[in-house]
Amino acid sequence: MKRLLRGGRLIDPAQGLDGQFDVLIEDGRVARIDRDIAVNGQPDLDVVEVPADCVVCPGFIDMHVHLREPGFEHKETIATGTAAAVAGGFTAVACMPNTNPINDNASVTKYILEKAAQAGLARVYPIAAVSVESRGEQLAEIGELRAAGCVAISDDGRPVATAQLMRRALEYSSMFGMPVVDHCEDRSLAGEGVAHEGYHASLLGLRGIPAAAEEVMVDRDIVLAGLTGGAFHVAHMSVRGSLRAVRAGKARGVRVTCEVTPHHFILDDERLASPVSYDTNCKMNPPLRETADRDAMLEGLRDGSIDAIASDHAPHHYDEKKVEFDRAPFGIVGLETAVPLSLDRLVHTGVVGLGRLVELLSTNPASILGVPGGTLRRGSPADVTIIAPDLPVTVDASKFRSRSRNTPFDGWRLRGGVAATIVGGVTMWVNESAGFHL
């Protein structure tokens, strides 16, 4: 099967391309990128006219999602989660291992991949547990997990429990080329905290999680990455001290990368009080931080010290969220809002250009995880995200493909959206309001 994406602007930072290019797709792979590829004499060629105001990008990869299956299918399944992914412009997702059972052995990995293949929407790259049952004691069988298809290791939801385990994980996983993704949080400092320790938590009587709980763990892990030469990736970075540590680590050659979520570069802890107080859709871990931290995340995105945008898509059933703030689980959904929020709050505000946004959403996640994609170079999988940077979008949680609706962005009017999502040359999602027909 052959398809041609004709017209529109193409951005592929991995090849240094930004301009008017056509993309020829054959057998699910990129066959050619060129100006004005001729179509005559090819009756079997499916020509897709890309509107002039749309931008063709290598498929976006959300490197931090929770698909909840197996174990928590009332929150999300692999089918609904990948449907949300393609509707949000993501051709691939990396899913965290904190399912039930935990993805600490190859049979769980195979189950996930089988379900993903059945769904046939976005690519799914499982992230394996660092330790057996993520208990922080014994290393999981990382070699076998790698062979089964896992691309990284993490005890996400929890930090890698001890410095010694982190050291061993960095050393051991390096032989498989897998980064260690750490949820950086010193549990003894975070205690039973539910919100950022600061003025707003004080006023509302909410137990605080200090910024230092994240920062000391990022520091620990950077030191250990330096010691071992292993690759350490900071999950959902939220405080300015962590960013400072990452910059310093990179400057001295440590293999450290980091991601930030849209909610941490858009919202701050004032949201705990208004417009709705104690909104459980503003409860996540790490918590919404103070304004200076939020601004530091924007600066890190701008200056290149932050490598990736990830949603930390964390679906929860509404019964679970419709409770007292203390009792609600942490997390919000993000797959279907990440791209519009990034376009509106990063591109249209001038924080980053479209090229840099594609690096954050595609090029860098692919390179950190060592997965195919992240570029439309000849021979790459034909995973393509077509965005409409000026499309007016109103977030409507009731229309989410995700099984859950726990978002603080419901009703937000944004500029910029996803026009179409193509995985392996096959159109998985089209936004008809973008004036797009495939």
Partner: protein, 211 residues
């Protein structure tokens, strides 16, 4: 909801439980203490008690001393007393000082002597046993030495100072018995006033008219 009560009086362990209930329920909600957030009727009865003795709140120096971090009495009193013009000082160990508390318009100090100096009102807060396990302070003995309200400390305040406590008290921890039972103490009056203030709250919120 189906029983359609006019009022629900809520005391709850989670901060914000009353806000949550008020959003989903049509009854009037009276907050009788939610987590470490607020205890509005305690603040009302405290303000009432102070006014009974001093005739006013404006420009009075009020020192609130103790576990500031976990106290809903503190949060409600700070809002009400500052609104009524009092000069509110708060004091407690740095481990139990809520970050950013100065932004509520109070003076925060770890020196209890500075807080009670020339005070018109001293309000002591209860210290809970489990705070010691959380390493907020080393021992009750040490807490009493550094923060306990003794007759010596009371002597730093104005000669007509009143001593308050929302109860229940830990004698010999945050307050010496001599002070709790002494001539400046209005602690039992607070309890009596609490009944009147809560009756008034129920009456007014249930639709009663002001006399």
């Amino acid at each position: 909801m189906a029983m359609a009560p006019d009022l629900i009086v809520v005391r709850h362990s989670a901060s914000g439980a009353c806000d949550f209930l008020a959003r989903i329920c049509r009854a009037g909600i009276i907050n009788a203490g939610d987590g470490t957030h607020e205890h509005p009727t305690q603040a009302l009865l405290d303000a009432f008690t102070i006014r009974e003795h001093k005739g006013r709140l404006d420009r009075l120096k009020v020192a609130i001393v103790g576990d500031l971090l976990h106290s809903r009495v503190l949060r409600s009193n700070v809002q009400l007393l500052t609104k009524l013009g009092a000069d509110v000082w708060v004091s407690g160990p740095p481990t139990m000082m809520p970050p950013g508390i100065e932004r509520l318009g109070v003076k925060a100090t770890t020196s209890v002597d500075a807080a009670v100096d020339q005070a018109d009102v001293i309000m002591m807060l209860r210290i809970q046993l489990e705070r010691m396990e959380g390493a907020f302070f080393p021992s009750f003995r040490e807490y009493f030495t550094v923060f306990g309200l003794t007759t010596e400390r009371v002597a730093r305040a104005k000669p007509d100072v009143i001593i308050m406590h929302p109860g229940p008290m830990n004698r010999g921890v945050e307050i010496a018995s001599e002070v709790a039972d002494g001539p400046y103490s209005v602690i039992l009056e607070q309890v009596s006033n609490g009944v009147a203030v809560r009756m008034a709250t129920l009456y007014l919120l249930a639709g009663g008219a002001e006399a």
